[in-house]
């Protein structure tokens, strides 16, 4: 595996950790199986790309992409909360609609950002890290977003959001408006995904209408790997798991691709991801159905075993 492939894998992993954070908010915190993600990811990319080629400041363009993603999430939430469409279907409807909308926004299937000024450009010379520039910047962004989610979920509103997702009846009895919490949570979740799409387009130099396919599955894979390794009892642990899970996942995929394990090629990526998620979900279900206390995270089990031996 070349150094270039490694830095590329870490870069993609850090980008998808933002998706994983969004998926954590919708799937885990809100208990909303949200498939909007496959549409809001390319939406963030499309809006940012169009803005950048129209000579908008790249930071403003990134913000626009993030807001667009958030609005997509708000739409799915609205379909579910106000129009009472099943949450899964609400997400699918938004995702399908966004395919057309993304084509409309870009006016063509893809936009190249080659040679355009992006958020990464000013740092390339300033940091002088060569191919590692994007990794460093994205690490800062990913950690900042992790801390943002940690902070938000510990505020009064964030706590209300968690209660609403876990126990809606109790939330109502504590004067929490569950519908409003769903709208808020979905907006933040897809805002993170839109940001990921926006940065993805800028780091890869292209926005493509098909780049969203499989985003949700990759996000889920990262989330589940993180939960397996670190556990999800505490918010800070779960969000850290999103970062580590996403980077590890992309790293192993890249390793498998470059080593040619089982003849895996780039086009098999979504198949592999789907299989990984299916296996992980089945394993975690088997674990949940087993009576007895919750199973500790992998690192706890490993350290405990060592203690027992000693």
């Amino acid at each position: 595996m070349s150094l270039f492939a490694i830095s590329g894998a870490i870069e993609a992993g850090l980008l998808f950790s933002l998706v994983a954070l969004g998926v954590y908010l919708s799937f885990r915190v809100l208990s909303f199986p949200d498939l909007t993600v496959d549409g809001s990811f390319p939406l963030g990319a499309a809006v940012t790309a169009v803005a950048i080629v129209s000579d908008v400041n790249p930071y403003l363009a990134t913000l626009l992409g993030t807001v667009a993603g958030g609005l997509a999430g708000l739409l799915s939430g609205y379909l579910n909360v106000r129009l009472r469409i099943l949450n899964l279907l609400a997400g699918i409807l938004t995702m399908v609609a966004l395919y057309s909308i993304n084509l409309r926004i870009m006016g063509r299937p893809n936009i190249s950002l080659y040679g355009e000024e992006t958020v990464f450009t000013p740092f390339e010379q300033f940091l002088g890290l060569g191919i590692w520039t994007n990794c460093v910047l994205l690490l800062i962004v990913a950690v900042a977003m992790k801390l943002f989610v940690d902070w938000f979920l510990a505020t009064e509103i964030g706590l209300a959001l968690r209660a609403s997702g876990e126990n809606p009846g109790m939330a109502r009895a504590q004067s929490i408006n569950n519908g409003r919490m769903t709208l808020l949570g979905m907006t933040i979740s897809n805002g993170l995904v839109g940001l990921a799409g926006s940065l993805f387009a800028q780091s890869q130099g292209v926005a493509d209408v098909n780049m969203g396919i499989g985003t949700i599955v990759t996000g889920l894979a990262a989330l589940i790997i993180g939960e397996t390794l670190i556990g999800n009892a505490r918010v800070a642990g779960a969000t850290l798991g999103c970062l580590i899970g996403a980077v590890l996942y992309r790293f192993f995929i890249a390793a498998a691709l470059s080593a040619g394990v089982l003849g895996i090629q780039a086009q098999d990526l979504n198949l592999v991801t789907a299989i990984v998620v299916a296996v992980a979900v089945v394993l975690s279900q088997a674990r949940r159905n087993r009576p007895g206390p919750a199973r500790p995270a992998l690192w706890q089990r490993l350290t405990r075993r060592r203690f027992q031996k000693g």
Binding site: E156, R162, R172
Partner: protein
Amino acid sequence: MLSIQDVFVTFNPGTPLAVNALRGVDLEVARGEFVTVIGTNGAGKSTLLSAVAGDVRPDRGRILIDGKDVSKSPTEVRASVIGRVFQDPRAGTCASLTVEENLSLAASRGGRRSLRSAIRSRGRKAQLAEQLERLGMGLETRLGSHVGTLSGGQRQAISLLMATLLPMKILILDEHTAALDPGAAARVLELSAEITGEQTLTTLMVTHSMRNSLQYGGRTIMMDAGRVALDVSGAERERFDVPDLLELFRKTTGNVVEDDQLVLS
């Protein structure tokens, strides 16, 4: 304080499964009154409480709290003046949140929730620990524990504390000790009486035990087939024992109570 006027509730109206859960309930509860509600399965006790809390909308009739018609406001709006403890200990608390986080959710009930940190200063912590100590369940040292790791009795005691943490108008206890073991049930009942006495709360408590219904509070109503069949309070109630209640019920409705659990527990 609480005024229930000619309330009708029908589940699944217009279908073969239609159930007339409440058929013209009239009830006036004065400020500070502790009313115990009793009745056989399907008599409409829980539906009555749900109608007061807002989970069930009446087809007809009005519900007034402090003279204000709340019949049309949703549960989360009424929650600012209504505290509630559910039958299932898991229903009233959030398992994945800590004891402290659950309590802080209750502390912001009815107010505007902001982006301030939900867990505040040390002083606040000490205050909560003090309240928990009163419960006598050793919870004061477990502020940081996830509620999911606590026993049913502990969770129910926390639910009770959450329901009564803020000054409010009406406390609803819906068979809140039915799912607990006898020891924990007795402790939680004692606490309920203690807290409602201290804060002179207007309370509605559904219970499945006739003995408890006479032992606690100052007024007992018995529901039957969606109506209030019996309403005893004051000196008359003081003299009452379970057989008297059964006899009165038979005389009023012409039915015999056949629910063993109601008679024996």
